[in-house]
C-alpha cells in the first residue's frame, strides 16, 4: 500500500449527488488522488466463509427530473447456506410483486461476481426502479438500506424461512411509501424521454 506518495488537491464536501456529479464533470479526479491504494475488501468488507450464500441486492434508481444523476445503491443481505439454491428472483418477478409495485420494478438479474479474481463469488440480484424524482430515489434508498440491512446479523436476523417474507415485506413497504409520497411510476420509455427530452 502506498500512503501519501504525493499530495493532490482535496475533495470538498458535497451537498447532494447532483452537485458532486457536476464537480467530477469539471474536475479530473487524477488531480485529487493521494496515491493510497486500498483493497476493495477493506472498503466494503469481504464475504464471510461460505460466501456463495451471500446475496447482493442491487437497486438501481433511474434518474429523476431534478438533475441528471443516475443513483445507485448496493445492499448486501446475508442468506443462510440452506437457501443458496433458492431463486430469489421470483420475489421481484411481476407476478409475485405486491400490488402496485409492478410499475416500479422493471428488471432483475442474477450473476456471479467477486472483487477481482481473489474474492469469493457473490450472487447478485438486480432490481431497477423508476421514480419521478431524485429526492424520492434518495429517500427510498435510505428506507431500503434500513429495511434490508435489518435482515443482517444480531437479534434481528430472520430465520431462513422468514427471510423471503422479510424481503417481500420490504418491497411492499417501498411500494406503499412511494405511493404515499406521490411517486409517479414511469415506464422505460417515459424515463428515456425525461433523460433525453
Amino acid at each position: 500500500m502506498q500512503v501519501g506518495k504525493r499530495k493532490g488537491l482535496m475533495v470538498p464536501r458535497f451537498r447532494n449527488e447532483g452537485e458532486e456529479i457536476e464537480f467530477w464533470e469539471t474536475h479530473d479526479i487524477e488531480d485529487y488522488l493521494t496515491g493510497e491504494v486500498v483493497p476493495m475488501e477493506t472498503i466494503f468488507g469481504s464475504a464471510p466463509a461460505g460466501a456463495a450464500s451471500d446475496l447482493v441486492v442491487t437497486l438501481r434508481f433511474r434518474r429523476g427530473i431534478e438533475d441528471r444523476a443516475p443513483l445507485s445503491r448496493h445492499f448486501g443481505v446475508a442468506i443462510p447456506p440452506e437457501l443458496t439454491d433458492r431463486d430469489f428472483g421470483v420475489l421481484f418477478h411481476r407476478e409475485a410483486l405486491p400490488r402496485g409495485l409492478d410499475c416500479y420494478l422493471v428488471d432483475y438479474r442474477r450473476s456471479e461476481s467477486s472483487w477481482g479474481s481473489s474474492g469469493p463469488p457473490i450472487r447478485e440480484l438486480m432490481a431497477e426502479l423508476n421514480v419521478s424524482s431524485t429526492a424520492l430515489a434518495e429517500q427510498a434508498a435510505e428506507l431500503i438500506a434500513t429495511r434490508v440491512n435489518g435482515a443482517r446479523g444480531g437479534a434481528r436476523q430472520p430465520s431462513p424461512a422468514a427471510l423471503p417474507r422479510r424481503l417481500q415485506r420490504t418491497i411492499g413497504s417501498i411500494a406503499r411509501w412511494l405511493r404515499e409520497y406521490g411517486a409517479v411510476p414511469l415506464t422505460d420509455e417515459q424515463a428515456e424521454a425525461l433523460l433525453h427530452p
Binding site: E25, Y32, L33, T34, V37, W115
Partner: protein, 79 residues
C-alpha cells in the same frame, strides 16, 4: 453522467467488481471518501469508475469513463 460517457450502469458495476484495489482521493472531511477503480468490463472494456464509500458501507457509483490520454492509460495499466 454515465450516459454522457457512453457507459452503461451495468458496465460500471462490472468494472468495479473486476478490481481488487482502488485508489483514494484526498479530503479534509472524514466522511468524504472517494475512490477511483481502474477496471474492465466482462467484454474487456477499460473503465475508470469513480465511486463514493457511504457511511453505511455501501458504494455509490458517481461516474465511469474510459481512460483518456496517455497518462490515464498508463495509470490504468499499472493497476
Amino acid at each position: 453522467m454515465l450516459e454522457d460517457h457512453g457507459v452503461e450502469y451495468e458496465e460500471a458495476v462490472e468494472a468495479l467488481r473486476s478490481v481488487t484495489h482502488a485508489e483514494r482521493a484526498g479530503s479534509r472531511f472524514p466522511d468524504v471518501r472517494r475512490y477511483i477503480a481502474r477496471g474492465h468490463t466482462e467484454d474487456g472494456r477499460l473503465l475508470n469508475v469513480v465511486f463514493a464509500e457511504e457511511a453505511d458501507g455501501t458504494a455509490r457509483i458517481v461516474t465511469a469513463y474510459e481512460p483518456m490520454g496517455d497518462k490515464q492509460r498508463r495509470r490504468h495499466g499499472r493497476r
